[in-house]
Symmetry: C2
Subunit: 230 residues, 2 copies
């Protein structure tokens, strides 16, 4: 299976590297390929620039968002939430049709200081997950993995024997089952995958960010997640 | 110590009964005492009406919000978030001065269907905790306990050996320490009390509700909480 990952930030890099290590063909999509290849400056978290990363991860193909949408049988949105719609709109007509779009992005708004808030128009009574499903009805959007640091997304056993929660939601049960199978290959246990229902539940999982960011601030580590205790 | 609890719903009842069982003098405050004493209908969760509850919990004093504010050395806000300011404004001048106000309420908006969203003006870039501190600067607001079902607030060992998280935030360190001491008497362990910092962090803890409500919906039980796994 060919997988396209939209977004060249640390989340897109982490997911792409993991998928390649599992034997998938992966193309990472970006707005401007030449700009991405020349991005040597470290990101805001101190990770090396994309230009450095793509050299050491040379099995990952690099293309435009449109190239990636054509390439992938399965699509992953790892762009910043505020520009996700614009990025995926680059896809040529028909290239999203029937494809699963795993949305792991969050609609963060950094314009009002730190920690970021959520983009008002994409929170509380709406969400990024819903917006993507509305804008791209031919795709099957499954929201998952957005409630944690990217290192844990692809390696959940790093902490607590992997026993912490990962939510899924989306309107298509078959698509959610396919995504669950992929998540299990990442190391997620069935009992820690909680299907919340349809895509409107993105309002809940994206609302994890305001508390996630503050726990991160108070504890000094992003390598944590929440377990549901009953 | 005398404690006033604002609000006669299931949260106010649960907190009041626990405090009385611990030996505190407790007054529960309401808008209209006669109306509360005549409320026999069960609430939306099937709990008996307040009129029934107050008869079997006759050590709990009942008064107006103003009576309760005068009575309590320590105050607890368990009203519905959208009417908390109005309720506490009933306090006579000086009756909040220097007192700790523990805010366990959430600014839920039931007007847009279920599950409720957050009141837009009290979420994302603001919060109920902040609004209370702003409206009542003479009180020391400590936000805590609002991220779980009330049965767990006062009996955390009911699940998972009590190992799940309870957040605190507020601008006054001394007030937070006093509240921590009370929480420990409820059964909370020091290591599970996470101080997030000042009262602006209410934006994070109140944002737990959108995911809490959906986990409740997906699992069918409110007797759960989140543990931070590191």
């Amino acid at each position: 299976m060919k997988i396209a990952v939209f977004g060249t930030g640390s989340v897109g890099q982490t997911i792409s590297a993991k998928l390649v290590s599992m034997g998938y063909e992966v193309m990472i999509g970006t707005r401007d390929v030449n700009e991405a290849r020349s991005r040597t400056a470290a990101d805001m978290y101190g990770n090396p620039g994309f230009a450095t990363w793509i050299i050491s991860n040379n099995k990952v193909k690099l293309g435009t968002f449109a190239d990636a949408a054509s390439f992938g049988d399965l699509l992953v949105n790892a762009t910043s939430g505020g520009s996700s719609v614009e990025a995926i709109k680059s896809a040529k007509t028909g290239d999203l049709k029937g494809k699963i779009l795993i949305d792991i992005a969050n609609p963060l708004d950094f314009s009002k200081g730190m920690p970021p808030c959520l983009i008002p128009s994409l929170s509380n009574t709406f969400s990024l997950g819903e917006e993507l499903q509305k804008e791209f009805p031919e795709a099957k959007v499954v929201k998952t993995l957005n409630t944690m640091w990217c290192g844990l997304m692809v390696n959940p056993v790093m902490i607590g024997n992997g026993d912490h929660v990962n939510y899924l939601c989306g309107n298509d049960s078959g698509a959610k089952n396919t995504v669950k199978d992929l998540l299990k290959k990442f190391g997620w246990k069935e009992e820690n995958l909680l299907d919340l229902g349809d895509i409107t539940n993105s309002r809940g999982t994206e609302a994890v960010l305001p508390i996630w960011l503050r726990v991160w601030g108070a504890t000094g580590t992003g390598a944590f997640n929440f377990r549901i205790v009953r």
